[in-house]
């Protein structure tokens, strides 16, 4: 099993619903976030292009944060989800510094926090909160090892890219372009 998420930049409108849904689902304190939205404008008026991306942890299969965590708090869970065990985390911040995507943040409770792919929802057979809420239905989530999963099929059908591939982290977050 290999969990992955694909986000259609052609449909995302940058509304940040994914951000606030993640906050209310995962009790992320106000002022912090596990996902965020980036807009990139290219060109000059009126020859313009706009790419909108909802970003979060890439759940890399070669994750520097897991490698550098001194306590093993950062680890792989089933399906390749990168997680932090809060009570093992000493808050040293090595993982924060190692992540090329700035996907981690220090939770005010003292541990490092990040996107969990909503593991607790997956265990209940639900989709991640951000995927379930998105009004444009631009996010696809599932198992890349299953060729019939939504995410496998969309990645086969569409052109995509990952972020900062040159960092060699093998990200599992795909942007449909």
């Amino acid at each position: 099993m290999r969990y992955a998420m694909a986000i259609d930049t052609k449909k995302c409108v940058g509304c940040s619903d994914c951000v606030v849904a993640c906050q209310t689902e995962n009790n992320v304190p106000i002022g912090y976030c596990r996902d965020w939205v980036v807009e990139v404008t290219d060109g000059t008026y009126p020859q313009l292009e706009l790419e909108i991306r909802s970003e979060r942890c890439n759940h890399c299969s070669n994750a520097p944060c897991v490698r550098c965590c001194p306590t093993g708090a950062s680890h792989y869970a089933e399906g390749g989800i990168v997680l932090v065990t809060a009570n093992k985390c000493i808050g040293c911040g090595a993982c924060i510094a190692s992540c090329p995507y700035d996907a981690r943040f220090p939770h005010p409770d003292g541990h490092v926090d990040k996107c969990t792919y909503c593991n607790h929802r997956l265990l209940e057979g639900l989709k991640p909160a951000c995927v379930s809420v998105c009004p444009t239905k631009c996010m696809y989530f599932g198992d890349l090892d299953d060729p019939n999963s939504e995410v496998s099929r969309i990645i086969k059908k569409r052109k995509w890219k990952t972020l900062i591939p040159e960092a060699g982290t093998s990200p599992e977050l795909y942007f449909l372009i």
């Binding site: 940058g14 606030v20 209310t24 009790n27 002022g31 313009l48 040293c92 003292g110 265990l123 444009t136």
Partner: protein, 743 residues
């Protein structure tokens, strides 16, 4: 360097992509307390209660989740509701913040100093009602009850409306008409004999071509439409966006027409020209259903793409091509009427041109065009007949605005300022859930009107600018803490939705139904409120609708069958439209009878003087008007607006990204607060743009106080639509003020 905190907000970056220089959090707490494991499956079974969202008018049905302690945790869209299909928009998801905002109004307040100074004392509900009822009785005796008006935006306004009608006034106005969607309703009514309605009857999910004229779906987060536009993109529909700004919708479009502001009618007429003279119109439909085709053909004879090019700056080939795209998709094409359409004062005529274009393409009443919605009615309960008002707001405008089917809110404001030739000026205002200082154009006039009142009551959840002007403030509890009317709204199939409290009201706040009833009693109108509790009333109504309050508490929403299978026009049947001729009127007999052009004409609008730029404004997906600006969850996503400035203009004025400026308009008015510059290619060089709803100046609302600027400060010139009284607000020009920004 971008901080991680900044990423919560949409971070807009220019060419070159994202450069992240490590993390901004160097220092971390060393001591780790035992924390709750965030990856453990939470095994709490939350309870959920139904509601429909009140953060905007779309009214999505939802479930409010509460935890073991009865605390609200999250709000999730109702899967069976066609307004949201299980997905709320960011504002609805962040609706929890409206409840948790600790700067809410908490108890009734009565003014103790001069009006507007915002000095109040806390009062009991009884005192507050006593005060209001005393004034209302006095006004009724001295001037007549017709001199009290209600401004309303939001569900609970219905209860105050009922109370006011019982008292003897039918002056119940919503700024959503003359300050927003009024022109489209009047235009579509005069063309098709029917309204666009809300939610809009646009069949976007099945359309093959969607044309947006300045409508920025995706930034205006009208949930169902955003969802359907996304479906349409999936199905490969062509989107054509006409906007001087490269909006989000423009970025999703096959064609973006970067039009010169205020010239849309010329483009629309050229499209009509192309569709008629290339014989691309739906001939059978036009022949069977429309009136005035020959006059229209003659009327647009010279309005060629070449002609429109000189006015709009849009390449004639693009005009031709986009007209052909629409025709190819016909009848599954939508030239979208938009929503906030009070722009330049000839708005009804612009919307008429849009309606005519739809008629030629045969999209009204067709799949992928406009469907015929249906809703169910909530049974009315018995009460004594309302007294017949002796006069109303229309008497202040003799012979004018006859086609306006709703009350003109700005007209009530105008008619509050006494003039010798008018018999009655308004003496009392009840303002429910609408921040008129930001909503009505020309703040000076609104304030002058308020200063002429004998009574000014504000009902709100937040200490908005308007509540500062009130004599009495009635704090309403949020939609998460109250019952309201049953939601019925027109859709493909009729649905109803229930709102019930998920929790007890915080502080000393109360629901509108209770306030209206208690105030009614004080006014001697108890007979008009036959039910002891709102539950009793709702249950009585729901039982006659084949359900009950108990059942609806479990269901949340309920679907009804359509009375007939008539979502679209039946091609084989005759159809009588509700117009003077019974046809779709390309040539409007109703508008002609009022003394206006029966077919739309292009008129030139004033352009910005040297050194000034047209002030455009719009919406952000995470906020609704000015009412959400203090919501902690939504402020987290966006806590100030920015001023979009083209790089060429920025260079000319030496403006840098993130620099704060104030704006001064053509009449010398300077924005009260300053706004951050966002230098972006996405805006034309002749205009600037900001999201409406920021620049609050209420110190009680700390999260929004002096954050960003308000377009309303600068809209002092209003172009009134002579047909229906709409207030055109896009004819204001601004220049930059970079000195003396504080104060």
């Amino acid at each position: 360097m971008a901080t991680r905190r900044d990423f919560i907000k949409v971070s807009a970056i220019g060419v070159g992509g994202l450069a992240l220089a490590g993390s901004s959090y160097g220092l971390l707490k060393k001591v780790i307390p035992a924390v709750k494991g965030n990856e453990k499956a939470q095994k709490v079974i939350p309870t959920r209660t139904p509601t429909y969202c009140e953060i905007c008018f779309w009214k999505c049905a939802a479930w409010v989740h509460t935890n073991d302690e009865g605390k609200i945790t999250k709000i999730i869209g109702h899967d069976s509701d066609p307004h949201c299909n299980g997905r709320l928009c960011p504002r609805g998801t962040g609706g929890v913040g409206m409840y948790y905002d600790d700067e809410r109004l908490k108890t009734p307040l009565i003014r103790t100093e001069e009006r507007g100074l915002q000095v109040f004392r806390e009062a009991t509900w009884d005192e507050a009602f006593e005060y209001i009822a005393g004034k209302m009785k006095k006004i009724a005796v001295e001037h007549g009850p017709e001199c009290v008006a209600l401004f309303t935006h939001g569900s609970g306004g219905a209860y105050f409306g009922h109370m006011l009608k019982a008292y003897g006034s039918d002056n119940i106005g919503a700024p959503s008409f003359a300050q927003c969607r009024g022109p489209r309703e009047v235009a579509f009514q005069s063309t098709f004999g029917d309204l666009v309605m809300s939610p809009e009857r646009t069949d976007i999910r099945d359309t093959r071509c969607l044309v947006l004229i300045g409508s920025h779906i995706g930034e205006n987060m009208h949930n169902g439409q955003v969802q359907e536009m996304s479906d349409a993109i999936d199905k490969g529909a062509t989107i054509i966006t006409v906007d001087p700004r490269f909006s989000t919708a423009a970025s999703k479009s096959k064609y973006w027409l970067p039009i010169k502001p205020a010239t849309d009618i010329a483009l629309l007429l050229a499209w009509i020209h192309e569709i008629i003279y290339n014989e691309w119109y739906d001939k059978k439909y036009v022949e069977k259903h429309t009136y005035g085709f020959d006059q229209l053909k003659e009327h647009v004879k010279d309005m060629t793409p070449q002609w429109a090019y000189g006015i709009t700056g849009i390449d004639p080939n693009v005009i031709y091509e986009t007209a052909r795209e629409m025709a190819n998709a016909s009848p599954a094409v939508i030239v979208h009427p938009g929503r906030h359409v009070t722009w330049y004062g000839d708005d009804t005529q612009r919307l008429r041109a849009i309606a005519i274009l739809n008629a030629l393409l045969g999209s009204w009443g067709r799949r992928g065009g406009f469907y015929f919605p249906e809703k169910v009615d909530v049974p009315k309960f018995n009460h004594p007949p309302y007294p017949k008002p002796k006069r109303n707001w229309r008497d202040a405008f003799p012979g004018m605005y006859n086609l306006a089917e709703e009350v003109i809110a700005s007209g009530i404001c105008d008619a509050t300022i006494p003039v010798p030739e008018r018999e009655c000026a308004f003496k009392g205002w009840i303002v429910y859930g609408t921040n008129l200082i930001f909503t009505l154009p020309d703040q000076q006039k609104t304030i002058k009107a308020i200063q002429n009142l004998d009574l000014m009551v504000a009902v709100d959840t937040m200490p908005m600018e308007i509540t500062g002007w009130a004599d009495v403030i009635l704090p309403e509890c949020t939609y998460l803490e109250r019952y309201d009317e049953i939601r019925v709204s027109p859709h493909r199939e009729p649905y109803i939705a229930l709102r019930m409290p998920a929790t007890e009201p915080l502080y000393n706040t109360k629901p509108a139904w209770w306030m209206a009833k208690e105030l009614g009693k004080k006014l001697g109108l108890a007979d008009f409120f036959p039910f002891e509790t709102i539950e009793e009333q709702l249950d009585w109504q729901l039982k006659q609708m084949g359900t009950s309050l108990d059942e609806m508490k479990k269901l949340g929403v309920k679907k009804y069958e359509r009375a007939a299978d008539d979502l679209y026009l039946d091609e084989n049947e005759p159809f009588e439209f509700n117009t003077n001729t019974g046809k779709i009127e390309l040539f409007s007999t109703a508008i002609l009878a009022e003394g206006f052009d029966p077919m739309p004409k292009y008129t030139h609008h004033e352009e910005p003087p040297e050194g000034f730029y047209r002030l455009n404004y719009g919406r952000a997906p995470m906020h609704t008007f000015s009412r959400t600006a203090n919501n902690p969850n939504l402020t987290d996503l966006m806590d100030e607006n920015t001023l979009w400035v083209n790089p060429k203009v920025a260079k000319l004025w030496d403006l840098k990204n993130d620099q704060y400026v104030k704006l001064k308009n053509q009449d010398g008015f300077v924005s009260h607060t300053s706004i951050k510059v966002r230098v972006t290619e996405r805006i034309r060089w002749d205009s600037v743009y900001m999201v409406h709803g920021f620049g609050h100046r209420q110190p009680q609302m700390k999260r929004s106080y002096f954050r960003g600027a308000s377009d309303a400060d600068l809209i002092t010139r209003v172009h009134v639509d002579p047909i229906m009284g709409g207030t055109g607000m896009r004819g204001n020009f601004v220049t930059f003020v970079t000195e003396n920004l504080e104060a």
